[in-house]
Each structure stands twice: as C-alpha cells, then as structure tokens.
C-alpha cells in the first residue's frame, strides 16, 4: 500500500518510496503553509522577547560596571614620612595613648610639602598641601607606628590615601579643564598633582579599603567591611534557623501530616507568606523582636531573624517540591525490605531530595542577602564604623550600605554605590551558580 506523503519540510529522501506528493490536495498544502508560518512567527516572538530582555540586562550591567569599576582602585600617595620623635612621643615613654593620639596628619603634611617643594612656613601653601591628603591620612601612619614603634625617629616610605578630589581628578571624573573656581582644585595643586603623578608617588592602587573599611563620611575611606560582616552574621543566622526549621516543617507536612482542613490551611498560608511584601516582615521584626523581645536595634541577629521568617516559606516550598519529586518506587523499595516510615524518609527520601533542598536553600539565602526593605525597619540603616564583634552588636548589611551610599552626592560615593552593587551581584551570581552546579551534579533520572 502506498503511503501518501505531504510535501513539506519533512519530505525528501526520508519520505519513503511513495509518490512525489502530487496526490496531496491543495487544501492540505495551504493549511501546512499556514501552520509553518504560525510556527515561524511564534519563534520570532520568542527570540524578540529574549533579545529585549538581554538588551535590558546589558544596559543594567553596563551602567553599573561603567560607574562602579573605578571604585576598585583608589589614588594613593607614597610619602617619605619623617616620624618625628618630638611630634609622636615627646616624653619618650612609648605610652600607647600618646602613640594613638599623636598628630600624624601634621607629619603627612610635612612629608608631602617636602615632596612637592612647598614652604612649610607658608600657611596658604600648607592648607593646599593638606587638601591633597585624605582626612583619614593619619590612619595609615599610625598603623605603621603602632606595628613597630622602633621606626619612630626614622624616615619611612608609607602609602597614604589622597583626598577624594585628587582621586576624582586621577580617575578623570573631575574635568581638569574647568575654571579653577568651579574645579575646587587650584592651579598650584594641579601642578603638584601632575608632578607627583609623573614621579610615580601618586598612583591608583587596588582599593583594599573598599573591602575592609566601615562607614566613613570621607568617600575615600568608606568601605563595605562592616556591612559584609553584618550580612555574614545574618546569613549564618538564617542558615542555622531557617534550614532546620524549614526542612523539618516540609518533611512533616509532606510525609506525616494528615490531609485535613488544618493542614490545607497551613499550606495555603505558607504559600501566602512567600508572597508577603518583605517590608511587612520588617514591621513584624520591629514589633516582636525589638519592641517586645527587647533585642537591640541595628543588630544583625534581629536582621537574621527577620530574614529567617522571610526565607522559611521559600525553603519549605522548595523542600516539599523536592520531596514530592522522589519517585514512589524508592519509598516502596525501602518499605518493602521492612524500613519504618522514619527510616525510609531519613535514609532515602531526604538524601534524594537533598539537591532540591540545597538549591531552594541557596536561592532563599540569595534572596535574603539582597533584601533591604525589612532591614530598614529594624534600624540597620546605621553609620557603623567599628566591626561588629557579635550578632548583637550594631552593624549594617550590604544592600543597606548600598542604599545609604546611593543617597550621597559625592562622586566617590556614587562610584562606591556601583562598586558595592557589583560585589553584591557577584556574590549572588556565585550563590546561584553553586545552586545550578549542585542541581546538575546530583540531578538523577529514574
């Protein structure tokens, strides 16, 4: 019996030994054309939608990276600082308080003045020299002295931070061709900067301070160190609380709970909680953890607790889905050799659901890491300079730090906002990557 073939993309040598399709009616031909046209149109829509999304993503990343990459370098000056004994330690007793409070800024100014050839007696010139240095210039020199007090009385080369304006000029974000009044850097200063830059004493170096410093009102010394520690404390709190609670709740609901009105109600409410705006969790945290339980404001433990509440529904839903995806044949196999229900779950179901649980957990954590709104409610919008020593100490969080910098107008803070955003995005991408790798690695097909 001859099989009629329909001419179309599938005809050709593979179509078999039937007739050349002459028998196919014109109606079928027309409808086939239409069908393929519809398919091509649909594909074109899909491609267009994806391209649209990609363009937006490219613009987003492009703008963040182009604004923020300069935050990873910072203009620094290498000064040969004469660590004058009479300034640092006039009594010669090496008292720690004396070493802490000495006027290191003066030493830095003198060193810079001699480097550019300014007259130390000329107050005007000295003010201009001082304006080239960061207001926190004493930090680096004090660090060097405290690390090794024997350097007092000697001249040592030390890299110190230049002021924010010098940094702007070095990075090209401050136009040197502007008139001197609006430029905020005098012609004299400009000449010194060029001289230092040419000799290599003024250079852009990798900005370790961005990662280690806490909050500062000077952009050149502001960093995300405190925010990262705060975020780390919060992630640990979430990990320690949300994962065991979420997995236990999910296992109970999925495997043990009877199917009745109450469990239905609980299930609906877990799904609802996953959709509650995060700021509501912040209000809840403020009312319960701070006002009722009396936990300190701005503490990362409170942030962690609030984020735990926020992450729980995500973890419960992901875990339930992962447990539900374990095929019944594995349960039957375990029950069939006489494993109890608990053994079946602990030895087989949960281990097999682990990749899904981990993926859900990591995605939940990533969501919590990027969350800002609830932290605003519990006072994490704080100017914290010191590293928090415990989860009860005041701290801030990475996205909150970004939010705070975003409200500052200085050029240095603008680039730091974008720089910290790059870091946050990098951490989130890494976390999601780990989730994808785990899923790929442990994914099983039955």
């Amino acid at each position: 019996m001859a099989v009629e073939t329909v001419p179309g993309p599938f005809s050709g040598p593979m179509a078999g030994p039937s007739g050349p399709g002459a028998a196919a009616s014109a109606a079928i031909k027309r409808s086939i054309k239409k069908r393929y046209a519809a398919e091509r149109r649909f594909r074109a829509y899909g491609v267009a939608a994806i391209l649209f999304g990609l363009v937006f993503l490219a613009v987003l990343f492009g703008s963040i990276v182009s604004t923020g990459y300069t935050a990873f370098v910072q203009s620094s000056l290498e000064l040969n600082v004469f660590l004058d004994r009479s300034v640092i330690d006039p009594d010669g007793k090496r008292e720690p308080t004396a070493l802490m409070t000495a006027d290191y800024t003066l030493l830095a100014k003198k060193a810079l003045a001699s480097a550019v050839g300014a007259d130390p007696a000329n107050k005007m010139q000295m003010r201009e020299v001082g304006a080239l240095l960061s207001r926190d210039v004493d930090v680096e020199i004090r660090k060097a002295v405290l690390a090794d007090p024997s350097v007092i009385g000697k001249t040592v080369p030390i890299w110190v931070l230049a002021s924010g304006r010098v940094d702007n000029l070095m990075k090209g974000t401050l136009d040197r061709n502007l008139p001197a009044q609006t430029r905020k850097i005098s012609d004299q200063q400009l000449a010194w900067i060029d001289k230092l830059s040419a000799s290599g004493a003024l250079a852009k170096r990798f900005n370790t301070g961005l990662f280690t410093n806490g909050a500062s009102s000077n952009p050149e010394t502001a960093g995300i160190g405190v925010a990262m520690v705060g975020s780390l404390f919060m992630m640990i709190t979430v990990l320690l609380l949300a994962v065991p609670l979420g997995v236990a709740a999910a296992v109970y609901l999925q495997e043990f709970a009877p199917k009745n009105f109450w469990t239905d109600l609980i299930e609906v409410n877990i799904n609802n909680l996953a959709a509650v705006p995060s700021i509501v969790f912040g209000l809840l945290g403020l009312a319960i953890f701070i006002n009722f339980a009396g936990l300190p404001r701005s503490a990362s433990i409170v942030g962690g607790l609030v984020l735990t509440l926020m992450t729980l529904p995500t973890i419960i839903i992901a875990t339930r889905a992962a447990i539900g995806a374990v095929p019944p044949s594995i349960r039957e196999a375990a029950l069939g050799v006489g494993a109890s229900k608990m053994q079946t779950i602990a030895h087989h179901v949960v281990p097999l659901a682990m990749p899904g649980i981990l993926t859900g957990t990591i995605i939940g954590l990533a969501k919590a890491l990027g969350e800002t709104a609830p932290l605003l409610m519990i006072g994490m919008v704080a100017f914290v300079v010191e590293y928090p020593t415990s989860p009860l100490a005041p701290s801030t969080a990475l996205p909150v730090q970004i939010y705070m910098w975003a409200t500052s107008a200085e050029r240095g803070f603008v680039e730091r906002t974008a720089g910290a955003t790059i870091i946050l995005l990098a951490v989130l991408i890494c976390m999601n990557l780990v989730a994808v790798i785990l899923r790929r690695k442990y994914e099983r097909r039955w």
Binding site: I330, A333, A334, G338, Q343
Partner: protein, 269 residues
C-alpha cells in the same frame, strides 16, 4: 515443570496445615467507596510458586499488596478479612508491620534499586533490622544473597558501583537479592518481568524456579505463558473476585469456570 508434588490444599485441609504458608479468609479491599477486592479466600502453599493472573484492574496486585500490608501506605485503602501467615493474622493490631515486611519480601514491577552502591542495596535490609553484627557477617550475607539471586559473578568486582548503573535484568535480580537478604519466608513479585526483555525475563524465571525450593513465592503476572512456566498453582482474578484457583496445569488445560476459559483462550482481557 510440575515435578514437585503439590496438594490441592483447598480440598484437603489436613495437609494444608503442613503445606500452607499463607491463608487468606474473606479479604475485602476498599479504596474509598470503591471495592477493589471482594471476599477473596485462598490458601497459598509453602516452597512453591503461586501465580495470580487476570486482566488489568482485576485486583491481583491489590491482593498481593495486602500480604505485606503495602496497602497501608495508601490512606484511603481499607482492608477487611484475615490474612494468616504461619497461624498469625497479619492484620492483628499487635503485629508490627516492619517485622511483617522483614518476613514477607517484595519485588516490584519496575526494577527499583536504591541509587546507592550494589553492596549498599543488598546490605540495607540486614543493616536496619540489625541482622549482622560485624562487617564480615554483612559481607557474607551480601555475597550469599547475590549468589542466590544469580548476580554474584556479574557484580563481585564492582560492588561499589551504583546499582542504578546495571542493566534492567540485573537491576531486577539486585532487587531480588535485596529482598532475600533479610531472609524472608514469603517473596511477593508484582509483575517482575514486565519491564524486561525476553532474555532477562528467562533469567528471572530460572531464578524463581530455583528460589521456590526455599521460599513461598507469589507472583503477579500479565503473561499467561509465564504463569504456566514458573508456577505450580494459579489463581485467576476478574473484577475483584477470585474466580478460580488450582494446580497450574489444570487451570490452563481444563478450567472449571467459563470466565477462566474465556480469559486463557484470549477471548477478553
């Protein structure tokens, strides 16, 4: 095939006491309001193979799953009547279902080894029941179980490899080894060859014939040829009823019921 002398246990209750392993009395199963099994009574002999045949949905698997109380896992399933194994009613509330399932092993339709090593698959049962007290003990049990399942020679050099990496037939033999590792008295097999090719099927059938020397084997099968090849007794189920039960050769050559005859001659099902 029928070398072993089998007694018609239903008609000779005196002998039944020594030969019968499992007695079902008036077993009904309900899934919610739907009755899946109606008043099934049957005696199943020890050290022999009993086959359950019948069209899809006739209740043969449901009945099989009553014998190790696997239906307990379905919340809406309700079982009435008695199933007695060695004079003990397995639906007695004082009986521990875990203990029962150690005595009544099960092999499923689709090979379902745990996604763990071959060794772990077999060792799991003895380990959770505390049957082995040393590593050497466990090694012995694993080896003898795999030997009994006719798989030892093929896997002895790769016990650490995942059980899921074996071929379908090997996986099913691994599942049989896993079932016999806890030293059961009864082995239930729910269409154990339906997912296998003819060669793997033949190996499993040989194995079943070998195992019946030591175990009471109950097998559900869709293939009447398979029932004829491996079983000594056959029960025919239809629409939730046990229509006819007897010596396999008689069921296939001279069935007493018309429905049985219609089914085995291919008129329905």
């Amino acid at each position: 095939m029928l070398k072993m002398p089998t007694l018609d246990v239903q008609s000779s209750p005196v002998d039944a006491r020594t030969e019968t392993k499992v007695v079902a009395q008036d077993v009904n199963v309900f899934y919610g309001a739907k009755q899946a099994l109606q008043s099934v009574s049957v005696n199943i002999p020890d050290r022999a193979v009993m086959a359950f045949i019948g069209p899809s949905g006739c209740g043969k698997s449901t009945f099989l799953r009553c014998i190790n109380r696997m239906n307990d896992t379905i919340p809406i399933a309700k079982v009435t009547g008695k199933i007695i194994i060695d004079n003990q009613d397995i639906y007695d509330p004082s009986l521990d279902v875990v203990q029962l399932r150690a005595r009544v092993g099960m092999v499923f339709q689709k090979p379902n080894p745990f996604p763990k090593s071959i060794f772990e698959n077999v060792a799991y049962g003895p380990r959770i029941h505390g049957l082995c007290h040393s590593k050497a003990d466990l090694d012995d049990v694993v080896q003898s179980s795999l030997e009994k399942a006719g798989l030892w020679k093929e896997v002895k050099d790769r016990l650490d490899e995942p059980g899921t990496g074996l071929s379908g037939g090997q996986q099913q033999r691994l599942c049989i080894a896993r079932a016999i590792a806890v030293n059961p008295e009864v082995i239930l097999m729910d269409e154990p060859c339906s997912a296998l090719d003819p060669i793997a099927t033949a190996r499993i059938e040989e194995l079943i014939d070998e195992l019946r020397k030591n175990y009471c084997i109950i097998i559900v099968t869709h293939s009447m040829q398979q029932a004829a090849r491996v079983s000594q007794r056959t029960a025919f189920f239809h629409l939730g009823e046990l229509v006819e039960e007897g010596v396999t050769s008689e069921i296939f050559t001279s069935p007493k019921q018309k429905r049985t005859q219609d089914y085995i001659t291919g008129r329905f099902g």
